[in-house]
Amino acid sequence: MNRFAEWLATTPPSVYIQNHNDWIIPLIQSIHIVGIAVVLGSVLMINLRILGWAGMDQTLRQTSSRFAPWVTSALYLLLATGILMVIGEPVRELVTFSFWLKMLLVALSTLIAVSFQRKLRADRQPVKWLALATFLIWACIIILGRLIAYDHVWGSWSPATKA
């Protein structure tokens, strides 16, 4: 992975981003944060509907279909900006414990969301606590995303401290 990251850092798109680091990286990160906001806001609204704290004039199904397309689009935006960040700073991203744990949680939350949608469409009662867990998982995803910059907090678990 180390070697791959170092190779990636020598490719033209990576070099381009590194040379325009002053504004490209903060710009991509900001777009990434906007995408996160769309996902987290949507997950919050679905959770509030499940708990009966908001949107009670709509069914859970209506609430879910209101937000699902926005979440899907935001996830593609997050994937695209995320890939650009990896290309721009491969070693900083890939050689961290936080990044890989984050990817694991992203995969987990996507699986949960897909199964939640399937059950809802099949008119079966979805497992509600899983939807609630999604919010917590997303909070952890955000924390881990920030911790990529502070990977040394993991001590010897962080490959960055060995480098």
């Binding site: 996160i36 906001a37 920030r146 001590g155 401290t161």
Partner: protein, 192 residues
Amino acid sequence: MNIAAFLKALEATAVATKIRESLYVFPFLESTHVIGLALVFGTIAIIDLRLIGLASSQRSFKRIYSDILKWTWAAFALTALTGALMFITNATVYYHNFYFRAKMLLLVLAGINMGVFELTLGRKVESWDKSPSAPPLGRAVGVLSIALWIAVIFMGRLIGFTTTRAAVAAPPSNSVNFDDFLNAPGPPPPKK
């Protein structure tokens, strides 16, 4: 007390010192700040898109507004608190940072934008509550709100790129990290 002394006093508070000396607290504050601002933007965008008529246009505006805005404010409180705690760790540097000032200005503008809405269309919601989009002023407020909040996020990120964390009195290598929870030997000092 002049402003420079006030900023120095903020930096010298026990809370600010504790945050600076910890390896964990600043990243934790930053993460919580991101969670808070994601909720602020994520929820306020729902209201703005309803104003513009791009989403939830069949639902009553009042209903959406009263359902959501309290969560926006709760998230804003969390974001402001974590922001303030980060500010005091390095108050002088942030205070003089261009992007910090721009961000505060944009926040004020977002507040004024909201105030304008509350004092005009907000007072006669009944007359347009069920229409798929707000009157022109409301649509303008919605567009402006989304633009201002995105700009706030961008400025916030630029602050992180143009300021360095305050130098700590005790190097972070002396403080605990994840290894200490697992009784592993101490780590090498973190890289800059």
